[in-house]
Subunit: 197 residues, 2 copies
């Protein structure tokens, strides 16, 4: 069993690592950098994680996964109009969330981009993350079918992936074009959602 303080140290490492990785990328964020900003020593780091990748995987499951889960529950309560909920989720992610910095994109998408092709374990962990999101959207779309707000012929799974994929794409464009392209995207996205009616 681990002490409260030890758990705090571990979480501190994971959270600071998450911020650094968000801004600089996973592979170019060094363990030395992480321990420097956390004020934790190397001994503590490698006591909690047997190597850097184990920390990275813990970061995904213990910081990113819960963070996304929380955002999903808030954005998609499946109460009102499903298309409005989905649009609202997108708008909130792109324009309202104070954590995101446009030029750095989305931490999860960045991580997929960088690590999915490089490491099977990361691929799995990230796949889980993305799938969780896609499934939440699928559920919202299915609910929409029941309430007749969404066309019965729509392939909800395919549509959900298309939406997540679109999000990833515009996050990437934002790195080049900035906030303006988010606005344009949202306009186009609204049009797209209307084709699902």
């Amino acid at each position: 069993m681990s002490s409260k303080k030890a758990a705090a140290t571990r979480l501190n490492i994971l959270q600071k690592a998450f911020e650094l990785v968000y801004k600089n990328g996973y592979r170019t964020t060094s363990v030395d950098e992480i321990i420097a900003t956390t004020q934790v020593t190397k001994g503590a780091f490698f006591y909690h994680f047997k190597n850097k990748d184990e920390m990275g995987l813990a970061m995904i499951s213990e910081v990113m996964q819960p963070g996304m889960h929380k955002a999903l529950i808030e954005a998609l309560p499946n109460k009102g109009n499903p298309l409005e909920e989905i649009y609202g989720m997108m708008e909130s992610l792109l324009l309202k969330d104070p954590f995101f910095i446009i030029k750095y994109g989305c931490p999860a998408i960045n991580m997929v981009e960088e690590m999915a092709s490089q490491n099977e374990d990361f691929n799995k962990a990230l796949s889980k993350l993305v799938t969780q999101w896609a499934e939440a959207i699928t559920a919202t779309l299915e609910k929409g079918k029941e309430t007749r707000k969404i066309n019965k012929d729509i392939n909800t799974k395919e549509t959900a992936i298309y939406i997540v994929s679109g999000y990833g794409g515009i996050r990437n464009m934002g790195k080049i074009y900035g906030r303006d392209c988010y606005i344009s995207y949202l306009a186009q996205f609204k049009n797209y959602l209307n084709t699902l009616k």
Copy 2:
């Protein structure tokens, strides 16, 4: 003036670097690795490029830019139906181009993802690259307006960015879900294109 052999050496470095960067990322591809696979010595490398970033920028403008230009001219001749041309371009990029390896995504998109936020010079060079593609699509859409194949009310610039962004997004998803999600995406993409009529 540079000799033919010297120009070949330089291009050889750029092309091999491009392949390595495609598979491993820019920052995690070392100069040592590049010169090892090119059979070029360090002296030659740093004779042609004063540092790694200068090589990276040359790679973008001298390998990636021309490569994309060639693909664009072939895919969008602006002769037949603009929507069919755009769909064909997407399909060919995702499913037919023998250079692309699904798990590694798209070299240009990867580069944007990794470098646009890290280095102003890279951001500019990549922005140019992406803008060039978007402009080609815009032109095709505009042509489509003239021939009445595309709705006059469509914002062609916004639509072009939306398409490029969608491409980037699905390239990222492909790293997780593989070829299947390309197929799904193309189906959805076709639907989307039809809304532009």
